[in-house]
Symmetry: C2
Subunit: 414 residues, 2 copies
Amino acid sequence: MKRTSRDIRTANRYEVLRQIIAESPTSRQELAAATGLSLATVATLVGELLDLRMTTEVGFEESAGGRPRGLVAVNASGGALIGVDIAETYVHVELFDLALNVLARAEEDVRPGESLPEQVVGHVAAAVGSVVTQAGIEGARVLGVGVSVPGQVDRATGISEYAPNWDWHDVPLVDLLSEYIAYPLYLDNPLRAVAVAELWFGAARGSGNAVVVTLGTGVGAGLVLGGALHRGVSNSAGEWGHNTIVLDGRLCRCGNHGCVETYVGAPGIMLNLRELSPDSELLHPGDQTATIAALARGMLTQDPVAVKVVRHTARYLGASIAHLVNLFNPEVVVLSSWVAAALGEPLVAEVREAVARHALPRPMAATEIVLSPIPTDPACLGAATFALEGALQSVGQRSAKRTTPARTKTHNPR
Amino acid sequence: MKRTSRDIRTANRYEVLRQIIAESPTSRQELAAATGLSLATVATLVGELLDLRMTTEVGFEESAGGRPRGLVAVNASGGALIGVDIAETYVHVELFDLALNVLARAEEDVRPGESLPEQVVGHVAAAVGSVVTQAGIEGARVLGVGVSVPGQVDRATGISEYAPNWDWHDVPLVDLLSEYIAYPLYLDNPLRAVAVAELWFGAARGSGNAVVVTLGTGVGAGLVLGGALHRGVSNSAGEWGHNTIVLDGRLCRCGNHGCVETYVGAPGIMLNLRELSPDSELLHPGDQTATIAALARGMLTQDPVAVKVVRHTARYLGASIAHLVNLFNPEVVVLSSWVAAALGEPLVAEVREAVARHALPRPMAATEIVLSPIPTDPACLGAATFALEGALQSVGQRSAKRTTPARTKTHNPR
DNA sequence: TGACTTTATAAAGCCCCTTTCCTAACCCCT
DNA sequence: AGGGGTTAGGAAAGGGGCTTTATAAAGTCA
């Protein structure tokens, strides 16, 4: 709510680092042009990042008659970030370098009935330990661990207030994890993690207004408004998956009827398939991944059943995404997460058409609907990005120490 | 997109003036407490407003042992604001003093078939002329004229890009109006006007996140996010009325089927009534106002038909407002405009229940659903508020004159 | 080698906000 | 009536941010 000039600095720091990561190496000139900041500001921000060892100078660009431009690049080995994606059936952990390349992965299955907080925390701790050893990173280099857990979370206290899939209530997840993990921890939910991933590294980069639609087992929307994530008053904005799209429609696990999720989430798509073609061989009962994969293959071969199911699904999806277009008037709608990735362009093409049928022409004309370009698990990447943001955040608040008076003069004289 | 420290100043200026208008007279101390700003900042901002003659000092508060607090109040006669609400069948103009009291009104009917831009402009010009003479205001005191016109507008150029009700396309409304009106003109659409009215003077005051639902002949939602209006990338955010709530539902004037508007806009409510009780005497065919008024009276007497119709309407409204609650996670949802005002608390009570049935419990718990406290035409008030914002805006940009070197020392020495 | 060009840093200036200090204004008590 | 004590409000200083301007650095080209 209360804005201060510090927020501007933080936003600019983010923007510059984002740009460097996206286009590495790059020059200060390019950064200034891309961000709209003055050269001087860019220079000081780059200087900060150099001091933090997040970037390095990597030679010069040959010039045409003047002093050559110094090039800066992400210092990939300047630190490591860990992203944890806790989902209903698995815990997925990835360790990234500062260029956000995956250095190591680990996955643990969460079997039904083994979903007590302590058990899940155990999985996370094991997987985090595993990626650190795999990567051979010395512990001190890990800048932070971002954790994505479904449901409603309180970021400040690190509490998972409510996780519908496991019926968790007010689980102090960060406290539990900190018994095993010594790095700074950042907690949020997958919707926002995916949105942040798209904002930093994906299709929403540079957009002031974007909507990131997560299509997985559950569905939701991450909202980027004014260049930053919109969280709402109690950090639960974006619960698009539980909007009613069919009055008195299918029963949803949330208890309501006709939620978007029940038609376009992976189980919903399976149900669409079953309703349209009860004994199709595309259906793998009890296996969402296989069924979606079968549909994806079917789309490539123009299998009539697959086409019919995707079109049917796109109809609901189109109407629901049209809601987002009408309401937010975004520059871009990004389709992300594994169902979107699996069904790919064929789905997007159908969705574009369906949205155009339902949205108003004016906002529709201003909106692009695209597939996420992120190849890996976006929730992991986004969770790691929370850790990155956290590491950058703490730059601003220089410790108000007064005991060391010589600290402002850190650069070497001569 | 690009934030500067100036924006902070502007936002603070708005906030302080809002507070003064809301609670006039008030002291600097109270203002500081209410806004969270320091005393010094409040003092300088109040000083600016005093210089602008928008506020005046009005005596002192008796103190208990110290220097008495100086009281400042809106200088009601320090200027006048004009709000123009152009609707499908009428042009409504109100002239306000700076305390936003209505000093004069004028209304012109727009008959079907007389909706050419020139004709509408004529009505506006006549009505604006009328309120100025009625109020006996000398012209120089009018700080600006805000104009609300349905559909999509480009504020910067003052063009009505598309008005669905009259099939206007790219009408240069501000240019046309400036032939008749010499005051600064500000153009936007009723959704945003109503939202700004609620933000400044209504139920959304002080909320970082609020949704203002406009229920009239057309319906829509004004979005207040982060304490400011969300406009979207092409200034067409908030078109909630054309979200599909029933797939293949009623035909909407926008060409689609099943839009929210077709169930909860005034014509939609009439249709609900006709469907539920075809020959109820509540129905006044062809007269929305009379029918809604009859329903309102029916609600007071617990007329079973009226109750049934309102409950039926609230069902659609509840599901649609639940979308907003789930997506935005706002502090407050404000029901505004004439249908909401007419049906009043009975409607709100039904809506609260219906929303609670459809929204997720967590965001729902954080959200209050209230009726707009604004007694007059909120679009007029909001339009006038645009003019007020415009007048305040121009304070910041001090003319970059260099010819008068002594300009920084404006205050009298002594 | 000198002139010109381009980059990067340093300095100065402006805009914000806050904190601190000091004067103004009032009450109350002696 | 005249000092304390207390509170309000303004002025100045300070800190953070961004930009413009000046200066130093590092090339190319004649």
